[in-house]
Amino acid sequence: MPITWSFKNAPLDLAFKAARDYLHSTDIFPALVDLVHLQCGSQAQVESLTIRRPIRYAILASSEPSATDVGSFRVRHGAEVVTGGLREMGQPITRRNSIDLPSVADTALSGPGFARLLKPMQGCVALELVVSLMKLVVAQSNPGHWWLCQIHFDIPLSAVFPLEVRMSRQIGNRFGVFDIVQANSYIGSARVILDNST
C-alpha cells in the first residue's frame, strides 16, 4: 500500500524529561509513531530511527530528508518503505516532564552483555524498558556517557515478555550493537555510541 504524506514538515510536540536537557529515542520514537499512524493508519510502522547527535532544540519531521538533518526515520506499510528526516528548528523546548526512564536494575536479570525483563513494569512502555535494559548493560563496562544513535525493528516492538537486550558486538570502548529479543525471538537491533565520542 503506497505511503502518502499530507505534510512536508510536521513539528513534533516533545518535552525534556527530569534533569535531561536533550531529547533521545524514547522521546522521539513515540511522537513519530503517533504522526505516522495519523498520516498512514495504524498498520504503518516506524521501522527505524537514526539520531546523529544529541538534540537540544525543538524538531520537526520532514517528508523531504536533507543531508543536514539531525536524524532520520523509516516507515514501512506493507511492502512500501519511505524515509523522512528530523530537523532542529532552533526554538527551545519549553516543556519538561518530571519522570525519565525507569530503573530496571532491581527487576531485570542481567549479566555480561545482556539484561532481561521477565514481566512488564507498571506504567512503562516497551521502548523505555528496552533502552533502560541497554543502559544497564552499558553501565557494566562503560561508566561514561553513551547514546543510542540507531534503532531498527524487523518486527514491531510490543508488550511481549520476556524482553531482552544482548550486546552482540562491541568495537573498543566506542561502539556497541544490541540485539533486541522478545519472547526469545530476535525482533530488531540498536547501535550505540559510547564514551561521548561524536
Partner: protein, 90 residues
C-alpha cells in the same frame, strides 16, 4: 573478476577502493564521495561516528570477519581499508 554489488553482496579479494565506494554509497552516510579520495580520512570527507561505525559493520558483514578494535585505526581511509582487507582475506 568484477563484482556486481547488490544490497548484501559479499566481498572477495582483491578488494578495490572502488568496491568500498560502492558499499559507502549503499549506506545512509554523510560521506561526500566526491570529496573522498582514496587516501582521505573518512572523517575529512564528512563521516561522523555513526558513519564510521556503520561502514565497519557493513564491511564485517560482507566479509564475514570481525575487525578488532586495535585495527580500527588502520581502516579510516579507503586505501587503508582495502589494504587491510586484502591482507586479512587472502
Amino acid at each position: 573478476m568484477t563484482q556486481e554489488p547488490g544490497p548484501f553482496f559479499r566481498i572477495a579479494v582483491p578488494v578495490s577502493t572502488a568496491l568500498l565506494r560502492q558499499i559507502i554509497a549503499q549506506l545512509d552516510t554523510r560521506i561526500n564521495l566526491k570529496k573522498l579520495k582514496d587516501n582521505t580520512r573518512l572523517r575529512d570527507a564528512g563521516a561522523d561516528s555513526l558513519d564510521l561505525f556503520n561502514f565497519i559493520l557493513a564491511i564485517e558483514e560482507r566479509c564475514g570477519i570481525v575487525i578488532p578494535s586495535e585495527d580500527v585505526g588502520q581502516v579510516n581511509t579507503l586505501d587503508g581499508m582495502a589494504r587491510y582487507l586484502n591482507e586479512k582475506l587472502s
